[in-house]
Symmetry: D2
Subunit: 298 residues, 4 copies
Amino acid sequence: MHMNRTIILVAGGDLRYGYTAQALAANDAYEVWAAGIPKKFLPDERIHLVESAADGLPMCDVLLLPMPVSEDGVLVNAPFSRRHLPLQGFIPKVREGGLVLGGKFGKAQAVFQQAGLETVDYLAREELSMRNAVPTAEGAVQIMLEEMPRTIFGSRVLLLGFGRIGARMAMLLKAFGAQVTVAARDPAARAGAEMLGCRSIPFTALQEAALQADVICNTVPAKIITESVLKAIQQETLVLDLASKPGGVDWDAAQELGRQVVWALSLPGKTAPVTAGEIIAVTVAHILEERRTAHGET
Amino acid sequence: MHMNRTIILVAGGDLRYGYTAQALAANDAYEVWAAGIPKKFLPDERIHLVESAADGLPMCDVLLLPMPVSEDGVLVNAPFSRRHLPLQGFIPKVREGGLVLGGKFGKAQAVFQQAGLETVDYLAREELSMRNAVPTAEGAVQIMLEEMPRTIFGSRVLLLGFGRIGARMAMLLKAFGAQVTVAARDPAARAGAEMLGCRSIPFTALQEAALQADVICNTVPAKIITESVLKAIQQETLVLDLASKPGGVDWDAAQELGRQVVWALSLPGKTAPVTAGEIIAVTVAHILEERRTAHGET
Amino acid sequence: MHMNRTIILVAGGDLRYGYTAQALAANDAYEVWAAGIPKKFLPDERIHLVESAADGLPMCDVLLLPMPVSEDGVLVNAPFSRRHLPLQGFIPKVREGGLVLGGKFGKAQAVFQQAGLETVDYLAREELSMRNAVPTAEGAVQIMLEEMPRTIFGSRVLLLGFGRIGARMAMLLKAFGAQVTVAARDPAARAGAEMLGCRSIPFTALQEAALQADVICNTVPAKIITESVLKAIQQETLVLDLASKPGGVDWDAAQELGRQVVWALSLPGKTAPVTAGEIIAVTVAHILEERRTAHGET
Amino acid sequence: MHMNRTIILVAGGDLRYGYTAQALAANDAYEVWAAGIPKKFLPDERIHLVESAADGLPMCDVLLLPMPVSEDGVLVNAPFSRRHLPLQGFIPKVREGGLVLGGKFGKAQAVFQQAGLETVDYLAREELSMRNAVPTAEGAVQIMLEEMPRTIFGSRVLLLGFGRIGARMAMLLKAFGAQVTVAARDPAARAGAEMLGCRSIPFTALQEAALQADVICNTVPAKIITESVLKAIQQETLVLDLASKPGGVDWDAAQELGRQVVWALSLPGKTAPVTAGEIIAVTVAHILEERRTAHGET
């Protein structure tokens, strides 16, 4: 038994947060409680389940909330909970100096600030975005394998953007043996793509490259797959959009032209909920470790 | 226009053979005719379509038949043809000294032999099996991505067998970042697996390794995933069987124990029909080139 | 013949700048002159050679100077030139509005500023650092192959730092089949290392990891391989320091302890001068293209 | 302490066999003696050293001889031994039913056969050749890095042959980012090369491909780099011959034409003696395990 275990309360969230709770509970340094997550998502016997903040919770060191924290700034985002979980209800259960972690606080931010509690947004951690590139890229590869009538090996892929997700996709697609062209604005990003064996182009050469592609995969959150690009590409070309709303494809044009477009959002939670949950857990653990080290409690 | 184009008749077969015909027709050295394949599978205008051997076919240099050539030794295996295509009907259309190519002749062999025609089984070509390992491995990866609740990255994969398919899978899975253990009988195969960064074990250590696996993928055509292995593995472990009939899994035991087993047969044609058709075409082209070279017609 | 060729004068520099001049001359858009580079380094007949600024030079659009531009702020750094090349001498040869490119200007900066000429440091371009990671990592691999009595396959490598060079090395070493541990401060960098299949540690765990290493490769410009680390490692462990002066190794301690340390500086120019020269050329070309585009001369 | 340890006597050999003895001694199942190997090559205290067969050796289960076993059929090949080690002298020290292992027995074979001792050539084990492809390919990469004035990244490499060594080289060179063309006779080998992302050609296209190469690396033991090939290639092209005697290069022509040829033989022992020794040890261990299993002594 660990002497001073950190008490973490996971409140609300979807399936992923069950896996987050389990991954945290596997670490002997944490005592994990969960509210508003069904028992079937939490087979781990080390986790203490409650239905609401009123149900015999101890004082917690950390309150871990989902992404987004709340839709309305009043209730915790808890799609699988049988009861409403007001944000306010958890405040008395967090000890003085305790920490509230969440993914995009929005209006909920003010609630905790007024109560004098520190909030940290784990979505803002670069490492979380890095790690999430893995399930996102795997989800995108899955869609390509499902939708294309040919192997990725030998296919001509046009990848738009070369951030974390673009780089991970380039690496996977090259391992499959695809011919990958990367369009990126930044010359350093293009150099990085070339170093992985990809051809690289600036966005000004996009339309010409699009003509030659079996699949176009967009990771840039800007309308770059315009009507004129969609008109230019071949009928069989698969367009895969990974960019968050409003996405990179002119949807009206795509529909009118009958182009084959797949808009794939929030892939980590959909294709690999266990891993997505574990990624949140490892990020949370790092946040807590850094604070302990900073406070000299090594 | 090529002076002496080789006339190839593609008769019967599924969707793949449409792509085979198209890939052959893209080579100016070949004049391609097709019988018993619907027009919609053959958009290429260079291909001459007929419905049967009676429909104005020229004398052919090569008759290309599907795999298997025939179910009953009487009719060409032509699932999409509107008419029956008797094997006998094509014999008068192959010139003396011409060649009959097919995948597994079975009883059909005798029909052509009696007519004095040479037959070659393209399925027996090592290069075809090599190339088919690509779509097979991609299809297997697709199933893993679909069925597993976690990323391939970080997953523990137990791969049974290290032939062409096993080696291709090992390479892909390592690129994804999986922890791959390969079970193989031959010490040289195990050395090959280790050279790709995999752990290797003999089959005697199979059961113990199975306990630790998130997914077990079999490529060995022998019942090695026995009842005792199935009993030992965890409930969540995915079992993927790529071995041809009768496969490597004890199915009765698997059903009784409620294990999650996917039996994936003939993946190339299912997951990548275009590539599968092209692979047949490239193999056929190599067979024809080698014969031309051997006959001094370089 | 290109209508309005950009006239580039390459002045001074080592062997690399010969290759830079040749790579630029291969582009029809550029007319290339060279000063202070021996004929034998410039076999390309398209390049116009002069010995000094006085020798019949046309007015130039671009003056390309080496890295560093000058040791003393007076003369161009031109180790192979038979004559002194004063910086001042080139000023009248650059047209009004022309551009002076160099790698680290130092005191030379003022000389050109006073003359009203714009200077750009190509060493500050992220893409140049990116591309230089390739020859640096190859040079480091070469040293490992030369110095180690075992294969990189199976070796335990401890890599300090995960910037451009660290990431390239990790990728290469994993391809060889090494067991790579990456020490990095930033959790996102550690996540990136793990995504390549490396184990990752914070610097606090450095000493323990060093004990297990066959080779330690440093890319961090800070004294992190201290006396206590050097004492802890095994006699046979190779220490390879890629960090620029003052480097990452306590040299006095290393010598006293008889540790096997290789300090590898400026690897691109040493191990791959052709590529190093081409990298400068491609960076220069990008700088010129961007300016042309910005000025609306697409 | 292991109950029935197998007593192995390592007699003669170069530096590698010191590492072989040490790797065997690390396995508790073996008691290792060494004859004719200097103490400085055998720091491991578990190894019992003798200078000749007369020096207090116990009866051995296994006599492990070097490659080649003997130059003259009389003495063990023992370049570092201070005394002559006659083959005959070891025969009384091998127990009845014991095993004599060696690499290429030649005339020595008869000596042991007449004494009724079974001999096994470990060089004939496929797994040894497989594993040796790793140090051979690393040694070849080292030579390329040393000899070429450019990075392997982006270089055009022509690889002749696609056996174990060719395949390993192709994999490494692709990881570096080279443009690799593989020449191979067998269409299945060419398919294998394409699956790694290489271009493939038959040997009939060799001369044309040689013109485009920055480096030509031969692994085929046949004179395929003929005078006409050597005449065709560029002056700067590096030719690297890994094929065992008589090699694949027309040496007279190469010298006359002043071509840059490196003939690299026996790379494993030269570039990675530790690994080369360990590879012999693991192969020997597998031979012994298989015999134990076959004899029912699991």
